[in-house]
């Protein structure tokens, strides 16, 4: 798979070329791709797919390539939720699905923790934050349930080959600044549809310096930029993660999964950013694109500080929050809620004392599920000012139409919980 004598291609082009069985694809072409992995959850999956499959009299094209994660309606809080989860469990048993993860965390975090996402793959997910898989150098994007049915029956899906928007981050992030801040900054600059359903590639030294979970935050939020996929070329950091989750070394292929030197403007556009001068960012109600440096919002009182979701409650996010809260308690009148993104992350955080720090600071612990982020496990009071590590602050999204939801990094959310108002974490950490 060496690039000798071949016209330079971007990482997304190479991934789509491989999946469509071609040597080369060009932006704008519509091609049919073979799907390596299809992920869906209890909300987008069985309750929609089962009746459609039965109506068609069709079966799953390849069960080994399907992963089901129960994360939206667990733990079930009412009869409707119980019914939805029961359909998922019964169908998983009836179909004898080999890869089912029930109530152990949020799909986008569980998938890589179980070693399902590898460089070079072409994957779809029944959830808009599916681009998270792009952090591992896989082309992964979200689709709806009917389109998922098409994949489940045929193993194929069409794509229009995207342009590659390269987000080149030079320099190095300052202490107290995270991938979430980089992402919010880009969403603010380009807007929620600025990605124009093209493929984003995050690159440059500041991206290479990020941990795997921080990279996942960038890829996750490419959804909020309106990109189809958000990729990062795999490297030694990727390899170490894959080895740690049990992927055999011989199966890890890194070499050619990168954008070639010399790609021209017909396939890629590059945008440059300086990580060193980036301040913590806050997105104000009701759009992730409504982003400014944290200093613009320091008068805003915080009633609820929420560390949760695939975007903002992975182990590295919990560590960041704990590093700010260590030995302190949240402000009177401010509730801190923490929903670790997976059981595995929560256990690791427990083992290294991170959960203890959060509990001692006054955090209420919530289940390892999507919960309040999507308004499925509504615990956000009406009229409250909420500062959350989540991905989306659309009006009403967290379950209350009158809540004012701001988005920020785990550092900023933790610092703000301490002071009871939106706070620059660099003041607290100094």
């Amino acid at each position: 798979m060496k690039a000798q004598g071949r016209q330079p291609q971007t990482l997304p082009q190479k991934l789509i070329a491989r999946a469509s069985g071609r040597d080369h694809v060009a932006p704008g072409e519509i091609v049919s791709c073979q799907v390596d992995l299809a992920m869906f959850h209890d909300s987008s999956g069985p309750r929609r797919l089962k009746p459609m499959l039965e109506e068609l009299g069709a079966s799953i094209w390849n069960k080994d390539r399907v992963v089901l994660v129960m994360d939206h309606y667990v733990p079930a809080q009412d009869e409707d939720s119980r019914r939805i989860v029961r359909i998922a469990r019964d169908w998983a048993a009836e179909q004898q699905l080999p890869h089912v993860y029930d109530s152990v965390g949020i799909c986008h975090v569980v998938l890589p923790q179980k070693g399902h996402i590898r460089p070079g793959m072409f994957c779809v997910g029944g959830d808009s934050h599916s681009p998270t898989g792009g952090a591992f150098g896989a082309y992964m994007f979200g689709i709806g349930a009917t389109e998922m049915l098409g994949v489940v029956v045929t193993g194929e899906i069409w794509v229009r080959v995207p342009m590659t928007l390269r987000m080149q981050w030079d320099g190095r992030l300052a202490p107290g600044v995270m991938a979430k801040d980089m992402a919010l900054h880009m969403i603010g600059r380009f807007g929620m549809n600025g990605g124009d359903y093209q493929a984003v590639e995050f690159c440059g030294p500041a991206v290479k310096a990020l941990s795997m979970q921080e990279r996942m935050t960038l890829s996750n939020l490419s959804a909020e930029m309106g990109a189809q996929a958000g990729l990062i070329a795999p490297d030694q950091t990727t390899r170490e993660w894959l080895l740690a989750v049990g992927v055999p070394d011989a199966e890890i292929e890194l070499d050619d999964w990168c954008t070639d030197d010399g790609v021209d403007e017909s396939v890629a556009k590059t945008f440059r950013f300086d990580a060193g001068t980036l301040a913590p960012q806050v997105a104000a109600p009701h759009s992730p694109a409504n982003t400014k440096p944290v200093g613009e919002y320091t008068q805003v009182p915080v009633n609820v500080a929420y560390v949760g979701a695939c975007t903002g409650a992975k182990l590295d996010d919990l560590r960041a929050a704990a590093s700010v809260l260590r030995g302190q308690r949240v402000a009177a009148g401010t509730r801190l809620m923490v929903a670790a993104a997976s059981v595995q992350d929560q256990r690791a955080a427990e083992a290294e004392g991170v959960m203890g720090i959060l509990r001692d600071a006054g955090a209420e612990l919530l289940p390892n599920a999507c919960g309040a982020c999507s308004g499925y496990g509504g615990s956000i009071p009406d009229g409250a000012n909420v500062l959350a590590t989540t991905a989306r602050n659309f009006k009403g999204r967290m379950g209350s139409a009158t809540a004012q939801v701001y988005l920020a990094s785990p550092y900023t959310v933790a610092a703000s919980a301490l002071r009871g108002r939106i706070t620059d974490p660099r003041e607290v950490m100094a």
């Binding site: 987008s44 068609l56 709806g144 009917t146 389109e147 549809n193 189809q228 989306r392």
Partner: protein
């Protein structure tokens, strides 16, 4: 081609949580559709009639992958959504469910309540006073999908011919 469609005007950035609110997502589409767009226009779901069209601002359908956002509009009988730009994910979902989306730079020139025609051969929205608003072309296979009533119907046919 003489069929006319009444226009409902919406602004920019209509998101999937407005089209299919999370709180009702546990229900079937019959339970979700009555709440479609209630956060921005509470009267819409009750007053829209089969064959009506939506003309909206840029970025229609941003947010979630939930196809109920498109399905709710189909359920309410919306014939098409006309907007300068759509979320790419919503765009796929809409065609998969048989909902026509017209990418039309001039969508903002359409007025609330006016009657328009859709010219899919010429790819334009035609207003009662003869104004023609050009729309981006749509790949043939997606137009076929809308005409078939969505991907489900296409798959049904494909599987039947294989038997």
């Amino acid at each position: 081609m003489s069929t006319t469609h009444k226009v409902w005007r919406f602004g920019a950035d209509i998101d999937t949580d407005q089209l299919a609110p999370g709180a009702y997502m546990k229900l079937g589409i019959e339970g979700i559709a009555p709440h479609c767009l209630e956060a921005v226009r509470p009267e819409f779901a009750g007053a829209v009639r089969a064959g009506d069209v939506i003309a909206a601002g840029p970025n229609f359908g941003i947010g979630s992958s939930r196809e109920q956002a498109a399905a709710a509009l189909v359920q309410l009988g919306v014939r098409a959504v006309i907007a300068p730009s759509f979320s790419g994910l919503f765009f796929r979902n809409a065609f998969n469910l048989g909902l026509l989306l017209l990418t039309c730079r001039g969508a903002g020139e359409l007025h609330e309540g006016e009657q328009v025609r859709l010219d899919l051969q010429g790819m334009a929205v035609v207003a009662a006073d003869g104004r023609r608003l050009a729309c981006d072309s749509i790949p043939e296979f997606l137009l076929d999908m809308v005409q078939a009533g969505g991907l489900m119907n296409q798959l049904r046919r494909k599987l039947q011919t294989q038997k």
